[in-house]
Every structure is written in C-alpha cells, then in structure tokens.
C-alpha cells in the first residue's frame, strides 16, 4: 500500500458501531459493538506505517503499534494479537479503557490534519478476534530461571507484572483479596464499558502460560510479606490499589442511600447486584440519583444509576466543565444517555427522614477564583446561594486514600505523607530490598494504563534483580 499514500488520507476513520443511547442507558450490554473484519482492515489501511512512530512513544507499555496494524491490514488477525502480546498482556482491556486521545492516538501523524488512526479500536478488534476464534499462539516462555515472584493484587499493575515475568522464565503467583481476579477491572469498571468475561479470559490466558492465582488472600492479614519471603519467594510486587474511599465529611453522610463509588460499583459489578435477586447482593436503586465528582469513576456510577432504573442521574461537580477530569469519551457517553451535569456546585449537607434514609442534598453555588496548586482555578463559594436538590441515592466519587492494611503490616516500607508507598519512578523499587510497588498504591488514583506502565517498569527491574542482583 506504500505506493499509494494519497489514497490512505482520503479514507475516513471507521466509525465505531454503538448501541443507541436511549436503549443502552437501560441495559448493561457493552456500548460499542467493535469493528468487524472489514472495518478493521479498512481502518488499518489508514496507518502510514511511520519509520519513527510517535504513537509508540505515546504508549506507556510501548506496543509495536504500526507492527500489529500492518498485520491486521494483511488479514493476519491471529498474528496481530501475538504482536501486541509481546508488550501488553491485557489488550482487550486496553483497547476499551485506555485514554487513547492522550496517548497513542494523540501522537498519530494523520491526527494532525484529520482524525487519527483508531488504534484503540484496532487493538480491541485484534484481542476480541483472538478470544472469539481461539486462533492465536501463546508467546513462548524463556528457559525457567527457578526464581519465584509473588504479585500482590490482580489489578492492571499486578497482571502486567505477572505477564511480563512469566514470559521471562520466572515462576509467578498472584495473590488477590477478592474472590475474583481483576481488581478495579472487575469491581470498578462496569460491564457496559468492560465485560467481565473479557477480563477473566485475559487472566485465564496468563494462567495458561503458568501464572498461579491465589484468591481470597489478603496480604497483610492472611499472609504477610515477611511470610512470602519465608516461603521462598525471591521478589514481591505490591500492586494493591488505593482502596480507601474518600468521603466529603459533611453532615448527614451516613444516611442510608449514600454510597462511596467503590461500594456502589462493587455491589453492581463484582457482586452483580444489578441482577438481584438472581444474585443475592442487594443495591439501593434510586429514583433521583446524584453523583458527587466528575472523574471516570463518577461517570461510571452515574451511568450505572440510569441502567438500574433511575428517573434522573446527575453529576454534581464543584468546578466547571473545563476542569472535568474524566475522559472526553466517557463524558460524551454519559451526556448522550441523559446524565445531567451541575457544574460549580458543592455539597453542603445531606437531608434524611426519620428512618435514616436520604431525601435530599443542600448544594452551594461556586464561582471560579485564582488558580490553585493543581493549576486549575479554585472554586470559591457564593455566599447565600444554598439550594436543595431532591435525591434518594447519592454516590461519593471524589477519589480514594491509601489503604493502610498492607503497608502497616509490612516493615521497612517507606510511605509518603499521604500513606502511599514511596517507589522509584524508573524501577518501582521500594525502600525495602526485593520489594517493588506500582499503580495506585504509589501514585494515588490514576488510570489502568498508567498502572500497567508502572507494572512494566517494575517487571523489568525485578527481572534485572533476579538475574543480576539488587
């Protein structure tokens, strides 16, 4: 195709087929359907196959993007997924939840003048094709080294470390506190954005390569890090996530009908409360629902509320639209589905009835003042602007703090003033010999792919240690 570059520029970016907003706002089926082979090949043909691809620099795990796209273009779908697996053990996940507009697609050359190549959609296509057809070759493992690595937490950071190190010939055991693997991919991200079957199949692929998975094990309680070493592990990676929900500390916050986003999403996603009473875990459904916060988690919560039958689902955010931290696509999907946005509004207190159930929230209007430490304009209260909003369900999605359960029970781990683990940015090494950390327990709440990037760096460093020393 290289002889006809002018033709490529003319092909428009293949649109992603999606469920109708009205219909999908009431079901838990995945929103985009994914490309078929024809659209995938057409989209792959748009790639210029740059000699020095900027997209790869934009990828935290450095997937050979032109390489796998070229294989799709040739119809070599099974080989294209093998190409991705060389660098990324969770392609079906990343194709769905990565903020591509800020990473690979944000750097794409043809994106300068038109729309970038839909790298995320293509990655998803390759992964889904492999999963559905079963036509793919597992990457070959290096010679066994005899070294053993314990990975604590089976979220995106831990799965990446496990995938990388098993390929390099080490024995890997993942410890997960929940009864299902996947961490935030399973308890946090809703089915309509990331079907759980996909996460489990990516984990199963790791198990097929030899990774051992131990569920229901809370490291720090069931087993300590000391005991892992005593059992013969040579290195330990801590990827336990942030995991302690932040509340607002306003009056009325313990009324029935107020959830942390963690609890709301865990009930719905991990425990399948949206299928109650077929599944035993209940969930407060809410007629008028307010979600506090405007990150990706807040969008997931507000959209879940609609699917659970809410008449109205509103995002309340104390800053303006400009500062919304969620991915553009998530905000767009939420708006399409009917989520209402109340910007420059802060919660003052919650109101309840005699049964301790939530009936409303008092909000306060804000104005934007001078920029604060984060560089964003600080919201300032407008005196006397209090007003009442009726609601019977409120979801607090304003981030998380560091969970001290593991860090308190592990000696020699240096923590920062917020309780997060101090780890070297380039290697993930902690202050304790043979212990690495990465993901939200180091950075605070961030994205799936950043946790995977941290996992990749830690895996390289662990490998280096196992063959050469600390």
């Amino acid at each position: 195709m290289a002889e006809k570059p002018e033709k490529k520029e003319k092909t428009p970016r293949q649109p992603m087929p999606e469920q109708e907003p009205k219909a999908r706002a009431r079901n838990f089926e995945e929103v985009p359907y994914g490309y078929g082979p024809e659209a995938a090949v057409k989209e792959a043909e748009r790639c210029l196959q740059c000699k020095n691809p900027a997209c790869v620099d934009g990828c935290p795990v450095a997937v050979d993007i032109p390489g796998f796209i070229n294989l799709i273009k040739q119809g070599e779908f099974a080989r294209s997924i093998s190409k991705i697996w060389e660098k990324n053990s969770l392609p079906a996940v990343c194709g769905r939840v990565c903020p591509q507009e800020m990473q690979c697609e944000g750097r794409c050359i043809i994106g300068k003048k038109g729309e970038p190549v839909a790298i995320g959609n293509l990655e998803r296509f390759a992964a889904d094709f492999a999963r559905k057809s079963g036509e793919c070759e597992l990457p070959t493992l290096a010679q066994p080294t005899g070294k053993r690595v314990a990975v604590v937490g089976s979220g995106p950071a831990g799965l990446t470390v496990a995938g990388d190190l098993i390929l390099k010939g080490h024995q890997v055991t993942i410890y997960e506190a929940f009864h299902k693997p996947g961490g935030v991919l399973v308890y946090g991200i809703p089915e309509f954005r990331l079907p759980k079957e996909i996460v489990f199949s990516e984990v199963a692929a790791l198990e097929n390569m030899g990774v051992k998975l131990e569920l229901n094990q809370v490291i720090g309680r069931t087993i300590t890090v000391e005991e892992l070493f005593a059992e013969g592990f040579d290195a330990v990676f801590l990827g336990v996530g942030a995991g302690l929900p932040r509340f607002l500390n306003v009056p009325g916050e313990n009324l029935i009908g107020i959830y942390s986003a963690n609890e709301y999403l865990t009930r719905s996603n991990l425990m399948k409360a949206y299928r109650f009473p077929e599944y035993d875990t209940p969930i407060i459904k809410g007629r008028k629902v307010i979600t506090l916060g405007a990150g990706n988690v807040a969008m997931d919560a507000a959209r879940t509320a609609l699917r659970l039958g809410a008449e109205s689902s509103s995002i309340v955010y104390r800053r303006s639209r400009e500062e919304v931290p969620a991915r553009a696509a998530e905000v767009h999907h939420a708006e399409e589905e009917g989520v209402q946005f109340h910007f420059l509004t802060a919660p003052v207190k919650f109101l309840g009835n005699e049964k301790g159930r939530l009936t409303g929230m008092v909000g306060l209007k804000m104005a934007l003042g001078e920029p604060d430490d984060s560089g964003r304009r600080r919201p300032v209260e407008i005196k006397g602007s209090e007003f009442e909003m009726e609601c019977d369900l409120a979801i607090i999605a304003v981030g998380a703090n560091a969970n001290p359960l593991l860090t308190r029970s592990t000696e020699g781990l240096q923590l920062n003033k917020w309780g997060y683990i101090v780890a070297d940015e380039a290697t993930g090494k902690t202050s304790r010999k043979a212990v690495w950390a990465g993901g939200d327990i180091v950075t605070g709440s961030a994205t799936v792919i950043l946790a995977m990037g941290a996992g990749r760096k830690a895996a390289d460093s662990i490998h280096d240690y196992l063959v050469r020393g600390w």
Binding site: A177, H179, N216, L244, P245, F247, P277, N403, L405
Partner: protein, 276 residues
C-alpha cells in the same frame, strides 16, 4: 472450596455451628477477628466473627443465626460440603490484658463471639465474671463452654424460663455494684450493647463492644461499614470491629442495619418458595 467438617444445630435449629477447614486463617486468627464468607457463585459476602479456631486441625468455627436468604442457604450445607469463598482473618484482634476483674456480657449469638474473648481474658490472668442471656432457655447457647472459662457465670432469660428472669443489664448492675471491674466486654444485639454501654458509662468502666455492620470487602475498600464513634466516621472492618462502647452511635448503626430490609425479605421469600 472450604469444607465443613462438623455441623451442629442449636437453639432448636435457629442457630447453626459450622467447623470449617481454613488452615491459613486458623493459623493467623485471634479472638475478636472476623471472616467474610460466600456460599456459592451468586451468593453475597457475609461478615461473621469467629467463634473459635484450631490452628493444629486447621479449622475455624462459625456460629450464625438463620435470619435471611444467605444464612438459610448456609444452613442447607452439610458436612463434606462447603463454602466457595472465605476471607480472613479480618479486623483488629481484641486487646487482651490483665485488668484485674473483667465482665463479659453476651446475648443471643453474640455469646459465640464472646466465648474466645472470655477465654483470652481468663488466660491473661483476669478474674472473669460472665453474664449471658437469651429470650428463653431453649435458645440459650454455649452455657457450658462459657462456664468453663469464667470464674462466675450468670444466666438470664427474658421469659424467666431459666436463671435470672430479665435482661443481662440488670445482673450487670449488681455485678458492678459488688466488684471493682476494670473492663466490660458486651457482645450481642445492638440494643443490648447500647444499654450495657449506657450502664457502664455511669459506673465509669471501660467497655468494648463488637459491631457487625453491613459490609462487602472487609478490607477498607467499600466504606459500607462506616460507624460513628466519638463523632468521627470509622470503618468497622479495619478500625474495628471492636470499639469503645461509650463512644458508638448505636442509633445510627440500628438504622443502617435496616438498609436492605425489603430486599432481604424479597430474596428470602424467593428462596423459601424455591425450596418448598
């Protein structure tokens, strides 16, 4: 699977004991700690404080009252069958020290949780006075076991069918009048713990209560188990489950325990219809 190796019915079948193989948990667990159990794929995660552990056999013992769908489902499990998931030990262990004289007050299935703590206090060298109660004699549990680890044991029944006719709180007052007490541990239904704490506050005696709010993960992640203690929000799963009874907002806890009443009824009725 976590296999049940021993099963007993108590209180005329309304309370069930399961001794379960869980060697990793048995090795680590201390009095006052809890586990989360889930029977099967569609089950919910239920927190239960352990009634006993045997590190040598590698087993833990749970005693629960049948109150809804999940516990009714647990009750159907026979010896040799088991639970799909058990996670623990969770929560902070009871701080066991010699305070001179300790009083252990238990009501209903709370006695099951109180028993290992009572034993621990006895082993720590305390004079232990125990007061246990139930609605009626035929539903009282663990009397012999409590007697074996106490210097004095008082039994109360609401209907007067056995022991003192009345509430544990009445006997508690007499005990506090007669003895110099260093610590009271009260475990049972929320109203019982509330009134025990009220009395001991008047006497100025430090009091521990063990709370069992609704929770999902048990590791601090969901925040569903939040309780107000001394005006501050605490998570029962990681900050507790034991708290200073004089500081707990029991009224808020009572309301929060009712959060899913209607759903639970629906779920339980469905289960009973299916079984019938």
């Amino acid at each position: 699977m976590f296999k049940i190796v021993r099963r007993e019915e108590m209180s005329g079948g309304t309370v069930v004991l399961n001794e379960i193989e869980a060697p990793l948990i048995a090795r680590k667990a201390k009095p006052g700690q809890f586990v989360i159990i889930k029977a099967n794929e569609t089950g919910e995660r239920v927190p239960l404080t352990m009634a006993d552990t045997d590190p040598v056999k590698g087993t833990i013992t749970l005693i629960y009252m049948v109150v809804g769908k999940s516990t009714a489902l647990f009750k159907t499990l026979k010896v040799g069958e088991g639970y799909q998931d058990i996670i623990g030990p969770l929560g902070k262990p009871t701080h066991l020290e010699n305070v001179g004289t300790a009083v252990c007050v238990g009501g209903g299935t709370g006695i099951a949780v109180l028993h290992p703590i009572t034993r621990g206090l006895k082993q720590a060298g305390n004079k232990v006075i125990s007061i246990i109660g139930a609605r009626s004699k035929n539903i009282l549990i663990l009397e012999d076991q409590m007697r074996a680890v106490s210097d004095e044991l008082h039994v109360c029944t609401d209907d007067g069918s056995y022991g003192h006719h009345g509430f544990v709180t009445e006997v508690l007052k007499t005990v506090l009048d007669k003895n110099k007490v260093g610590l009271v541990v009260g475990i049972g239904p929320v109203p019982m713990m509330k009134f025990v704490s009220k009395i001991t506050k008047d006497y100025g005696v430090k009091t521990l209560v063990s709370l069992n709010p609704i929770m999902i993960d048990g590791t601090g992640m969901c925040g569903g188990c939040r309780v107000t203690v001394g005006g501050k929000t605490q998570f029962a799963c990681v900050d507790g489950p034991e708290f200073d009874g004089h500081l707990v907002d029991f009224d808020e806890l009572t309301l929060r325990l009712q959060a899913y009443c209607e759903d639970e009824k629906e779920c339980y009725n469905n289960f009973c219809t299916l079984k019938a």
